[in-house]
Amino acid sequence: MKFILRMAWRDSRASRRRLAFSALSIVLGVAALVAIGSFSANLRQAIDDQARALVGADLVVTANKPFSPALEQYLAGLGGRCAHEVQFASMVRFPAQGDQTRLVQVRALETGFPFYGEFLTTPALAASRFPAGNFAILEESLMAQFGVRAGDPVRLGQATFTAIGAVQRIPGESMAVAMISPRVFIPHRALAGTGLIGPGSLVRYRAYLQLPPGRDPAAVERELRARFRAERLGLETVEHRKRDLGRALTNVYSFLSLVGFVALFLGAIGVASAVHVYIRQKISTVAILRCLGASAWQSFAIYVVQGCGLGLFGTGLGAALGLAVQLLLPVVVRDFLPFDVAFFVSWPAVGRGVGAGLAICLLFTLLPLLDVRKVSPLVALRSAFAEMAPRFDPWRVVLGVAIVASVAGFAVWQTGNVRTGAGFTGMLAVGFGVLGGVARLVAWAARRFLPRRVPYVVRQGVANLYRPNNRTVLLLLALGLGAFLLLTLHLTRATLQAQVEFSGGGDRANLLLFDIQDDQVEPLARTLAAAGAPVQQQAPIVTMKLAKIKGRPVRELLRDRTGGHGPGWALTREYRSTYRGELTPTERLVAGKFDGRVAAGAAVVPVSFEQKLARDLGLALGDEVEFDVQGLPVKTRVTSLREVEWRRLEPNFFVVFPLGALEDAPKFFVVAARAATPAEAARAQQAAVREFPNVSAIDLALVLDTLDRIFTKVAWVVQFMALFTVVTGVLVLAGAVVTGRYQRIRETVLLRTLGATRRQLLQIQLVEYAILGVLAVLVGGVLAVAGNALLAEFVFETAPVLPMGPLVGAMAAMCAVTLATGWLANRGVADHPPLAVLRQET
């Protein structure tokens, strides 16, 4: 063993820098795993440490209608502290900023909350001052967007508040909440003055409870569920939140770990490739050792030790870099965290990252090392024996199986799901298979169709694609996979943006107004028209709940776990249905016959269901459904099914009633209008909100802006991780170029000896790297287009888009990176004195 260690050390003398460079390929993969693992441990610790502050209370009770007196009495009787909150969407108006308006999330909050943790504001005193007067605390982004300063008036409905500060953090909510809809906190007692809560308003009523010592939140939760079943309460305890957060965290952790693992896998291939080249150069050394009496095992062990050293160096460096990246991660995901995270090094996570890195690196390194066992001592006598004939080697099969098993095992371990793990392994295999197949095809085509009439440097560069020791497969894999990941992200973003832009294109509505009372419809339409946004469509909305399906009460269906009645939410949700005489352009009849009118007083009303909801509820044409329309049972029969284009910013409905059935029910309206310009849209919103404070508006531009901001944040996190793969690809490329230098130095020197200029040598290299770079990016691009199409079809259910300009730009940039890396890593080869190389017989 001593000899093996000593020999491994001595033998590596001339190659240590090169081996260390090869080891860099796995550094980023390990760094990603360590950073994500250790940061995840930080997050879990933070969740445990700040468990109560995650909710701010022991128990949160939520309902979508005011609490019944019995419930209020029960809550008061618990003996702890209680803070009520009412939450709804409404328009805020800033009189000091030219009456500009914005849809916000109003939070009317009682004193006391949070009971645990802190309501952090700027200035800090704003949180304590806010219950004392007609004050409002606004989202920081909202204040910045409209230039609102402390002391400015803020108009909500019929009430005017004074802005006194910006919200920084409130227990249980992340900054991401604000991205969807900015928050405006007002005192609970000032809510009535706004006049914003009317019939049909979408309102959440909430009570935050601090229970007396000794009272078990879970027991209270159970009792509330049992006693107030009819109120359909939402109940959340600290344990629920911990579990939900933990689950979300596990999902994100798994996803990011898998992205990191792709980088590690790619890096390991790079290492294996470098070791392959290295071992080919060591064959004569192995043969000499065999002549001098070294056994096959001893010779093999010398290089396994070197492989271990390489792995340890790479993983050690990766772990150190990972811990540095861990310090960065809180900045990257800050907006998604509802709590503060304290940094500490999780040694088990470091161990897992290093272990995974070492295992994968060694498995891949062993593949080329197996050849060492087969080196004949005769090679020392005759170099012709150096060409080892490929023979069946059972150990190679064992290693191949071990690699596949370790990838699948890692994926299953990370995702905790055999199907997902197998899917990941399969996708990786397909990606690698396609790229590997293309690489072989390219090598074959280069040999078969090598043009004879093109300049020598081009022929030489093309020929390098198929010559012995070519790096075509390795580079196409490394670069292609990186290109695939980055371009998929780019295309998905474009698809999502186009989806929303499309919905507002042409002369379609781009302004949606809701919470409109019966008597406001006409005057609002006039106001909008005067402001340059004529109404295109209006729809009455009647709220209702499902009472019976095919004669069976919903409560019974909910208890029946045998299935077939759809998800619970579909049974219990509040349906906002409309009535009209015809279909709209955003829907298409797919089954039955749409009934536009029914005789008043009909015992059974014909209704049209949205097809997916009907499928979820197990409904078919002719089935009977009974609705509870605000206390009144209404029997209906499914007479038609519709396909609805939900993404259009127009009033769309799950259930459409015919004219003549619901006209007398309490209702409110939603209106779609079109403004020609953003300025007109803003003017129309301002006019509408000024005259009808209870009316809220959604501007398509706002939706686009919100979507873009959310995507930018998510994309930033994903891109940060994808960067590990891309940089690994560049490192593998650089590593391959560097190892190739040693392989081709003799050829280069011979060309120099025969009169090739430095410029010609550079051109030969550039031709090779340009072909590889373009091909890798093209194949990665094709895979990305396919991936985007699959995501669009099966995840986002929309048509994929292909923005050619940006796509070509991104691909060109990646080609440039490939060329630059190839050139940089190859510098100096032409400077080698030919004589020295020829003498050494490198």
Binding site: D11, A287, I288, R290, L292, G293, A294, W297, L378, Q840
Partner: protein, 228 residues
């Protein structure tokens, strides 16, 4: 002369499969060599000299026939067992020196002993390098040595394990005349000092003439076995 045979070769045959059918490069070669004797294997290129040397040294397995080296029958031994025999009983000098480029001269010389797990043998290595005239070049790497110096290091390495038999494959093939002559003196001098059996493959008839016996090969068969 020692009556016991150091090397005993019987009906040694080596055949390689080729696309055109089996190719026999060595055909039923038999001879015996006593301990301390020296044998030159000569013949034109492609006559099977190097193949015979490789088989005698246990670097390859014959298709047929047997080799007994220092009393050990090599046939039936696996590659690792043959490696142990080589390490214990055999020294090598190659035409192209075959030093390990990443080791210094001294480290190259010590490899056979270190392979056995022996330590503290640096002095012996230095003494041998001193003996071949390279006492001042112990820490030099092969690339820093001339061809003749590299071959002398290889010779020191061949003798470090006190082999019973030394196999030389064209030991002067890559050297100029003066260096070659000096090298030959060293080989025979050390061989004499240490009582080693010597088998060398050469085209150099002058060198062959210094051996006790010459085996001439042609077409894989022995055509002449001359003893002096």
């Amino acid at each position: 002369m020692n009556v016991e045979a150091m090397l005993k070769v019987e009906r040694l045959t080596k055949t390689y499969p080729t696309a055109a059918g089996p190719l026999t490069v060595l055909h039923e070669v038999s001879f015996e060599l006593a301990a301390g004797a020296s044998l030159a294997i000569v013949g034109p290129s492609g006559s099977g000299k190097t193949t015979l040397l490789g088989l005698c040294a246990g670097l390859d397995a014959p298709t047929a026939g047997t080799v007994q080296l220092a009393g050990v029958a090599l046939d039936g031994l696996g590659e690792d067992a043959r490696a142990r025999v080589r390490n214990r009983e055999v020294g090598f000098v190659f035409q192209n020196f075959q030093l390990i480029p990443t080791l210094t001269a001294l480290e190259n010389v010590l490899v056979p002993l270190e392979l056995r797990g022996e330590s503290g043998c640096e002095a012996a290595g230095r003494a041998l390098l001193e003996r071949v005239g390279l006492g001042a070049r112990c820490d030099h790497y092969p690339v820093q040595l001339s061809g003749g110096e590299q071959q002398r290091v290889a010779l020191a390495r061949a003798f470090i394990n006190r082999p019973k038999i030394l196999f030389c494959d064209e030991p002067t093939g890559n050297l100029d005349d003066d260096t070659a002559r000096a090298m030959v003196e060293l080989i025979f001098g050390l061989n004499h000092e240490r009582g080693t059996t010597l088998v060398l493959v050469t085209h150099n008839l002058e060198l062959a003439a210094r051996c006790d016996r010459t085996l001439r090969l042609r077409g894989g068969a022995v055509v002449c076995d001359e003893r002096i």
